[in-house]
Symmetry: C2
Subunit: 417 residues, 2 copies
């Protein structure tokens, strides 16, 4: 079978399965998830064994500790993954809900029904927990998933996928409701991205090169989950303690994630700049500053270059710029930011409103850490990821983002005049 035939067969079966999965009852979908969670726990031994093959290969390939850690599955982590699936099952079901029902002058009643999107392809990094999370989010919302995880996690993903398929088949549903592309040839991704007659949306999660490739090659609508170059702006009126607490939290609580701060902007008239910078240095953060920042602490702060303003460090490194005004801060974010998450720390009402209105990012914060940008913290439950595009789903994307609205019209014989 050629690569094209292999991918097309997966797509054809996925589309057929979507006609079944879209019409299951809420209870049927939730029971599926609970059974998957149970079976994951039962099969811990087998999954951990398959995962160890990936770990050995990754170590031999010389991956970073952070990469190795994301790949690692332990019995405790599998318990967490099963728990996450049970939590997804417990979310309110968006499917079938009718919104905005209204009577029109003609007498027709018009509403919008939330329905599954159909077939969702997700291309993601080598993190096996994403496999079960995305599969569960898609099934919960009545969608069929086509998963293509990082090649380094292929044995782990295959083991997880076997468990999911078994549960589907035991329940009498098509195994093709959750699909895994097990051939790791990268060319197959290019073929997948052209299958617009079967796939309704492609969600790429990962590095810049993947996002760029998918955006350029796909003829299927894309919801991209791009990098987070998140900014915090300390306004002149910011409270010193709050500024330090939020800056520290946003930078060091979990530096490797997309909602961590990467650039700190400080108003030139903020009186506690040195105190904030010292707090960050004291917490082990390497600072790269503009010339005015460097002048404040010349022995400890390196000069930033142009690349630093664009950088997503995902590490204990921070670029710092002193700006003349809130306007300059907004312009800097507009130029260098990735439209992910930005915060202002301020005591000034009009500056808070101005920042909220003017900053064109998926989440804009006043006096809170960017680290809150998360489906759980925002009250949406488990998330597919954080969308950095504007259409359909912007910011944290949960199960509602995996549905769309169709108009439903109830009449009793009306015709248009």
């Amino acid at each position: 079978m050629s690569g094209r035939e292999y991918i097309e067969e997966i797509c054809i079966n996925a589309e057929k399965a979507s006609k079944v999965i879209a019409h299951l009852s809420t209870n049927d979908r939730n029971n599926l998830l609970k059974n998957i969670a149970d079976k994951l726990l039962e099969r811990t031994g087998e999954i951990v064994e398959e995962n160890s093959k990936d770990l050995v290969a990754a170590r031999a390939a010389g991956v970073t500790d952070a990469f190795y850690d994301r790949l690692l599955l332990t019995p405790e982590r599998l318990e967490g993954m099963a728990q996450s699936i049970v939590e997804i099952a417990s979310l309110d079901d968006p499917v079938g809900r009718i919104e905005n029902l209204r009577v029109r002058p003609s007498g027709i009643r018009v509403g919008q029904m939330r329905v599954p999107i159909g077939v969702i392809a997700v291309i993601y990094e080598s993190r096996p927990n994403v496999t079960t999370d995305i599969a569960a989010l898609c099934l919960k919302s009545g969608n069929v998933a086509i998963l293509r995880g990082g090649s380094e996690s292929i044995n782990s993903n295959s083991a997880l996928h076997r468990v999911i398929r078994e549960v589907l088949v035991e329940a009498g549903y098509p195994a093709a409701a959750v699909n895994l592309i097990t051939d790791t040839d990268r060319e197959l991704v290019s073929i997948l991205l052209k299958m617009k007659q079967y796939i309704d949306v492609v969600i790429p999660r990962g590095g810049e090169s993947l996002i760029k490739r998918v955006t350029e090659e796909s003829t299927i609508p894309v919801i991209k989950h791009d990098k987070g170059v998140c900014h915090i702006f300390l306004d002149r009126s910011a409270d010193e303690k709050m500024a330090i607490a939020i800056a520290i939290n946003a930078k060091i609580q979990r530096p490797g994630v997309c909602n961590a701060m990467e650039t700190l902007l400080i108003d030139k008239d903020f009186p506690h700049t040195v105190s904030v910078l010292n707090a960050l240095l004291g917490a082990g953060v390497e600072l790269r500053g503009c010339s005015r920042t460097v002048a404040l602490l010349p022995d400890t702060i390196k000069e930033a270059d142009e690349d630093d303003w664009y950088a997503e460090y995902l590490d204990l490194i921070l670029s710092v710029k002193i700006v003349d005004s809130i306007e300059e801060a907004i312009e800097h974010i507009d130029r260098y930011g990735s439209g992910h998450s930005e915060a202002i720390i301020t005591g000034d009402y009009s500056h808070a409103e101005k920042f909220l209105e003017a900053v064109d990012s998926s989440a804009v914060f006043v006096n809170a850490s960017t680290r809150f940008h998360d489906g759980g913290e925002f009250g949406l439950g488990a998330e597919v990821g954080i969308s950095t595009q504007k259409l359909h789903a912007r910011g944290t994307m949960g199960i509602e983002g995996l549905t769309c609205l169709k108009f439903v019209v109830y009449g009793n014989g009306q015709v248009r005049s």
Copy 2:
């Protein structure tokens, strides 16, 4: 200047202008629209004169009467266009509205603010009224428009665009808030479709070949406005009078539009099939039927071929198929439909619910004509068009479809634990 430089200059200026237009007050945007409406009326003579150049060229090129009629501007039609702009100004402003505001356990308050998308490129047919409608809808929603109308309407569009620019400049706003691509070289469209660093969304309206080209070439998110192969299904329990009234209305009230019926499906046990077919024939509709339909009226109904089931006739032609059941009707729609608008005529509650749930189209009707699928009839006001894709905007797309939601978070010092 090369074609690329020409397009890039438009895009750069459009993106700059979007930073101004997005932040105008509701009153400022509404006043702009009212001034455009006024000036269109003042300049009727000039616009009609420019339009006549397009009309002469079109007649010489041998266009159809329907094409000529869509191109034609008269003083009365200009009044209608100005009136439409005034109506768009009177719509509720979605921009800045905060939805779903809630307090989270951490103490942060999270909401979603409706904001303009940014820069919107629209590629459309040779209908000059679309130029002013789209410009008004974009300005109303705080967006910048890049317009590329059909080349046959270039003189009309240029005249309309001059009026819009003058109003913008007189009000002190950037002329680049509404842009028209006046170079009709088709290759420039390919260049435009790659300008993803400046343009946020591309909306193609028009024939299949345009939609296909845009979908395949664009690296910018697309909201497509594709053809409507709309179905009506007469269930076995349909009321005879209602079936005739709705079938006639959906087919002949305005056969050239995308929400007109193109295929009639009839349950084999519906007792009034011949009466419905005779009513359609009596109204001047040419019928193309399946073998069972032809057998009912062999002298007057031609046999349909496979292409007929896919056809968007936009004319007084209708394909007719007798089906064994509602399930077969749904399968037929799934296979041949374009996901636009479909209706069931029935007296059976469970069939009504089944059809509403199972048919995967942007609007699904019970006992009403598909002709109601329209922004005005649905209560959304003027429309950009009818989206036939599932993401972001599905079905009739009004000014809300030209906005997106960003999260806004109000804190008082919260950090994530």
